[in-house]
Symmetry: C2
Subunit: 512 residues, 2 copies
Amino acid sequence: MNGADALITTLADNGVTACFANPGTSEMQFVSALDREPRMRPVLCLFEGVATGAADGYGRMTGTPACTLLHLGPGYSNGAANLHNARRAFTPIINVVGDHATYHKEYDAPLNSDIASLAAPNSIAVLTARTADEVGPMATDAIMMSYGPPGGSVCLILPADAAWNETTVVGGQAHRDGKSGIPPGAVEEVAEAVRAAKKPVFLLGSGSCDEASLAAAGRLAAGGYRILIDTFTSRQSRGAGRFAPDKMLYFGEMALADLEGVDLMVLVETVEPVAFFAYPDRPSLLVPEGCRTLCLAGRNESGLEAMAAVADALGLTAPAVMTQLEQPAAPAGRLDPYSIGAAIARHMPDNAVISDDAVTAGLPIYLSTKTARPHEWLSLTGGAIGQGIPVAIGAAVACPERKVLCLSGDGAAMYTNQGLWTIAREQLDVTVVVFANHSYRILGIELGRTGAGNPGPAAKTLLDLGNPRIDWVSLASGLGIPAERCSTAEEFDAAMAKAMATKGPCFIEAAL
Amino acid sequence: MNGADALITTLADNGVTACFANPGTSEMQFVSALDREPRMRPVLCLFEGVATGAADGYGRMTGTPACTLLHLGPGYSNGAANLHNARRAFTPIINVVGDHATYHKEYDAPLNSDIASLAAPNSIAVLTARTADEVGPMATDAIMMSYGPPGGSVCLILPADAAWNETTVVGGQAHRDGKSGIPPGAVEEVAEAVRAAKKPVFLLGSGSCDEASLAAAGRLAAGGYRILIDTFTSRQSRGAGRFAPDKMLYFGEMALADLEGVDLMVLVETVEPVAFFAYPDRPSLLVPEGCRTLCLAGRNESGLEAMAAVADALGLTAPAVMTQLEQPAAPAGRLDPYSIGAAIARHMPDNAVISDDAVTAGLPIYLSTKTARPHEWLSLTGGAIGQGIPVAIGAAVACPERKVLCLSGDGAAMYTNQGLWTIAREQLDVTVVVFANHSYRILGIELGRTGAGNPGPAAKTLLDLGNPRIDWVSLASGLGIPAERCSTAEEFDAAMAKAMATKGPCFIEAAL
């Protein structure tokens, strides 16, 4: 057994059984060791941003980490944008980064770089194995740290000699700390404050958007209290049979208008809401003036238990009012995010997973699917576009029995189009919809909001993707995934009906 | 004038007139300011690795920096792999990275991250403008630092408020330090050592591979001394009328066999050669045992002057023997890197630029073009594949009168396929050849060399790109670039003849 074997065995012993990989020479021992550990599923990604985003999607669906296999500093950096998103989703991930042999580092060979500096901003911890004996126990530590709560990426740097040298040491079982229980005193303080407030709201973060936590929140809603969730959450259980909270609005001034008069904001596994970007003369903090904020549960505490206890303390006995299934009529005419949303709501099967990187098309579809069959919604948590296709891959590997639907802007999809090939290769049950508006439309909106005025000809060239127009059907077909283009609501509805009824890869260009 | 205007004016005043951009909301002031500075050419890239690689290609051809425009930490990270390559090429680049407004940072909005930590490993300096008044002078500093010698990337972080606030301060002219002259004493020491040595060689780095430096080296060669250059150089002047040095071989054991008996290695703008990767029981340092190394010129010193002085000191009066134009016969039959090399050598026009990211196909084509028309060869300096298409973009923007030829492995081209769209959009005079062997072939070779044994089924899945086979013609056409597939040497020769004779974008899939 060498260090690479010890690593993979330790990972698999701890349930880390998916490896999203784009290896190079320094990772060859790990690659070879995969043949000696059948529990680990290797999934090849042709760009590291696909690998890390897939690990994010996997972790969001399972709650346990997948691992990635990345090639030194450049490989890590290529995956860093989606690890940034994963950091904001608190997703457990083990990033195995191959490095030069320990004795080779000093020679500063061409691929050498400071991996720790590159990895630190998006990692809970950066660990480096100096010997083969260290690898297994360090993997156990990495897994334990990745769990959190609230969870995150751990970077495990594996020098080539630590991988190829012999060892007898396998890592042990990684202990998992659950979330802490109810923070002492918080329930009573919140209950009292809520009673005294004129217009209290509860704001829930990613950790409190699962079905059970939302049901607890729904008890508060049934008692007359408003429930909001963060604009972007790692995973929200939605649709029929779930409690449907409101969502913080994206643009700050709309969010503040929506919160007008609120005098108490109770935070549940989240922090005070802030504007996504700063704009001249607009506030950063999205808490109304004079509004008190109270933390009911931090991100490592159980919002579920805390909300249930507050409901008890308030004497609320009615259960949450759950969403009733309500299907829209078949859309007709113009293809736009609303008609697309209607088609999706009609055809999406039970327990589908939506990976949302749809930018300007996202909110209309989110609203349109409120009363659809039960599903999970995975948001772009960190604002780094290019997450949609990779997260869909990871969700599909994690949940082969579920239909996965990826919604992506065209600008976003270009970042990680390589993922289409992995979907085809692994025959994943993923339908990718790309919204081809041939522009960075959000930037056209944001340009005015930042006080930068109207775009002139030079500025316009940086917002326009229309010259040449990308032929998405040609691109996706070239990467091996069956593809079609829809230009009307009727065409899209028919394509969606077929895609949702058929298992396997599918690509739809929504020509907007 | 706001901070963004001050920045762009300062850049343009200093000859920084190409901006490879993939902006987001925090960069909208810069985008808007482009309309007020016609000297700056904005080039939209749909992935940041394209932008940074293009800036690298531009800087290699002009010796002056281009700027990039990147969106906070994730945007920078997406561009980091090609900045790693640029670091190893010593290319001057100004990376303008937008950030949240200074007062917004503390709220840790979703896109916030530690940009300085992400940027430090690949940057000469990381500068942050705290006010609009600081921006212009800081840009002057950044340009000055980027020049070196030997040159590199400077990261200039531009908070949104430093961009949108008013200022009257434009930066001044950036002073450029040239390379230092001959290091004192080195010439005499080297001349003496060379005379005394049985088998001396001169090893030249990137800074000494221009036409004039090679001509100076050729005087030493005419005197009977062997000239080698580093395996990967930022830019080498080659072909007819140039002196043709040998090249350090990639695999360490071959390099050491080639250097057998060498007892003196004179380093000219480079350092002691090392193996690209470590392998069990193989040396890291590629200097034969007992061989003395002497530094004639460091990377900030003039190898050209130093070599000419050594030739003088050695009494060598004969000029370099220059390569004679010699064209191969039309290739026929099987399409392989040698027949491809022959076709390229036949049709490549004077002063073409080759961007080489061809991995296993690279060396055969390099050898085949030794006696072709004069051209410039840009190597993959840092080992992070995905450089070929972006560097070709930058070279074409820098040198619109030159034909640019991009040679890329299929695995490499997948990393930055988004660049094909920019080539089409800007109607650049670039021909892209992708070698479709449908595998990470180099890894199949390296797996055995690292002692990892023969690949089993699991390992094979991570080296094989053939399932599904990427249809490069479909992919490239989808991105707007005219494309064809060649399966025989005759087809490829005809396609190359046409591509080299026609101005504008062209894509050829070489089906190997």
